[in-house]
């Protein structure tokens, strides 16, 4: 049988798909036991930091994609610090690369608050799966007392936090987009410079490839949206470093001061179009509704956010490009929750199958969003 070639996308991501294909037939995955992680950490640090002793290893909750453990490392000279081990399960709701995440975290130090990456087991030689270790950052992703919410969706910040978080949320995004990625140490990242549509095409193809591999059954509105996205690829006038999952729920903040202490979840970062991040910020699922008014990430109303971004960045938001990425955001989120999430849960390749099948129920919202967005004739 002839193998269907992987679509045109960043070479590092093509390699990711090739590696993934080899894991697809693997038996079910079990969540790693804390005792196993303790042993793996000891083995890892016996080589990486001889004499250092990992202790107080604790599994971290939250998140829908990686296995995470916090631990303390005390070095031979008594110096001690708290760290986070972030590790791939066999498959996850997003298919990403720990090495790229490590590189981007390193590259944005001093530009955007982010956990400092320290060590990596790129091929999972010690931990069994690829893993990265970064410095622990204190803070919360939602106000205490906000109740249980899956993965920070629809987090209500309320006042006075909302007023305090608005500016740093925007400023950090603007700073990231202003970063000179050409000078950044990002060897696993490739810039889509071949033609003006390569940035949008690479992004689109990554998600199309996932849908092709993971869709459990055809979904007509997804098929139509895919065709629309392919036929309407926008030019990218200025390549920037994008975060890929920029929203409330993906930053840690100090609840007292309202300071953002770390932006998290950089695994979908790439060199692309800033409109992609804006479209994601403006997704309804990551925002709140109050008296019929939508607030993106519970921080800004839509037009208010666009105007604030334009003012702070000096860029002009191209409404047609933004519309494209609005559609792309809903389409790709459907790929994530209904395609990859369900496919991975069915294969029992993740440690949180019950969360993945729960999240898949959000698919109806994204299907509704696609219908709403694709009927906006002024853009279509």
């Amino acid at each position: 049988m002839t193998e269907t070639p992987i679509l045109d996308m960043e070479p590092a991501l093509q390699a990711l798909f090739k590696a993934r294909a080899a894991r697809r037939a693997a038996p079910p995955y079990s969540a790693r036991k804390t005792a196993e992680i303790v042993e793996a950490l000891k083995r890892f640090f016996s080589a990486a930091v001889p004499g250092a002793a990992p202790e107080k290893v604790m599994r971290m909750g939250g998140g829908a994609s990686k296995e995470q453990f916090a631990f303390t490392l005390t070095e031979r000279d008594g110096k001690s610090g708290r760290f986070v081990l972030r590790m791939d399960p066999l498959e996850a709701i997003t298919e990403t690369d720990r090495n790229r995440e490590f590189q981007i975290l390193n590259a944005v130090q001093g530009i955007v608050p982010a956990p400092k990456p320290r060590w990596i087991d790129e091929r999972g030689e010690i931990f069994g799966r690829p893993a990265a270790i970064m410095e622990f950052v204190g803070g919360v992703t939602k106000p205490s007392g906000a109740g249980i919410k899956v993965s920070g969706l629809g987090t209500w910040l309320g006042e006075p936090l909302r007023s305090k978080l608005r500016k740093p949320f925007l400023d950090n995004l603007v700073a990231l987009h202003a970063m000179d990625w050409r000078k950044a140490p990002l060897p696993s990242f490739s810039a889509p410079t071949a033609d003006p549509k390569q940035a949008s095409r690479w992004g689109f193809n990554y998600w199309k490839q996932l849908w092709r591999e993971d869709a459990i059954e055809p979904v007509p509105i997804m098929t139509y949206a895919e065709q629309w996205l392919e036929e309407n690829l926008p030019d990218c006038e200025e390549l920037v470093l994008t975060h890929g999952d920029y929203r409330t729920g993906n930053y840690l903040f100090d609840e007292k001061t309202g300071e953002i202490v770390a932006m998290l979840d950089w695994e979908l970062a790439r060199i692309g179009d800033f409109h992609e991040d804006l479209g994601w910020v403006l997704m309804q699922i990551f925002g709140t509704f109050e008296n019929g008014k939508f607030r993106a990430s519970d921080l800004y109303e839509r037009e208010e956010f666009i105007a604030a971004y334009e003012k702070a960045s000096g860029r002009t938001v191209n409404r047609k490009s933004l519309h494209y990425y609005d559609v792309m955001s809903s389409w790709k989120t459907y790929v994530i929750v209904v395609g990859t999430g369900m496919s991975v849960a069915r294969a029992q390749h993740n440690h949180q199958d019950v969360l993945l099948t729960f999240l898949a129920a959000t698919g109806a919202m994204f299907a509704g969003d696609l219908c709403r967005l694709l009927s906006q004739r002024e853009f279509v």
Binding site: G61, G62, G154, I221, A361, T362, G363, A367, L374
Partner: protein
């Protein structure tokens, strides 16, 4: 009398909530999270259980209606015409004892095939009209689906 599905689910929920969850140590964060989620998921299944057959029958009915609407005034090259014939045949196929989910899946596959063929050699006017039909009907379908899953608590706008 047999124990109902709801009675059985209710007893599982109670066992998870009262026995399993309370026995978990404080540092078993993932186990607690997943137990709570499993309880919530089971509670929602209980609430949906009686209405599930009607919901799936309506899904099938909506898929049929979409297929029929897409066939109206269809035009295009040989690929599109062939896909239209296939969808027609699927809609005409007797359901028999087949589960509504399976019937819906057959129809959805035929619709999907038509959409893909239309993009290759469909008449442009027909394709635009089909897109309007698809968006209009899927808007209504997504409202029903969102309502069905409203107990999950994601959807603040429904």
């Amino acid at each position: 009398m047999n124990p109902s599905v709801d009675d059985r689910l209710a007893s599982i929920v109670r066992a998870l909530a009262d026995i399993v969850l309370t026995a978990l140590p404080d540092d078993a964060g993932l186990a607690k999270e997943q137990t709570q989620l499993a309880i919530g998921h089971l509670q929602i299944l209980r609430a949906q259980l009686d209405a599930a057959p009607a919901f799936e029958a309506e899904e099938l009915s909506d898929a049929r209606a979409l297929g029929a609407a897409l066939l109206a005034d269809g035009r295009g090259g040989s690929g599109t015409v062939e896909a239209m014939s296939a969808l027609h045949a699927t809609l005409d196929q007797p359901v028999g004892a087949e589960h509504p989910r399976q019937s819906r899946l057959r129809i959805t596959k035929a619709i999907d095939n038509l959409l893909r063929q239309m993009a290759i050699d469909g008449d442009q006017g027909y394709r635009a009209k089909a897109a309007d039909v698809l968006i209009r009907m899927q808007t209504e379908r997504s409202k029903k689906d969102r309502k069905w899953f409203s107990l999950m608590g994601f959807d603040s706008d429904i």
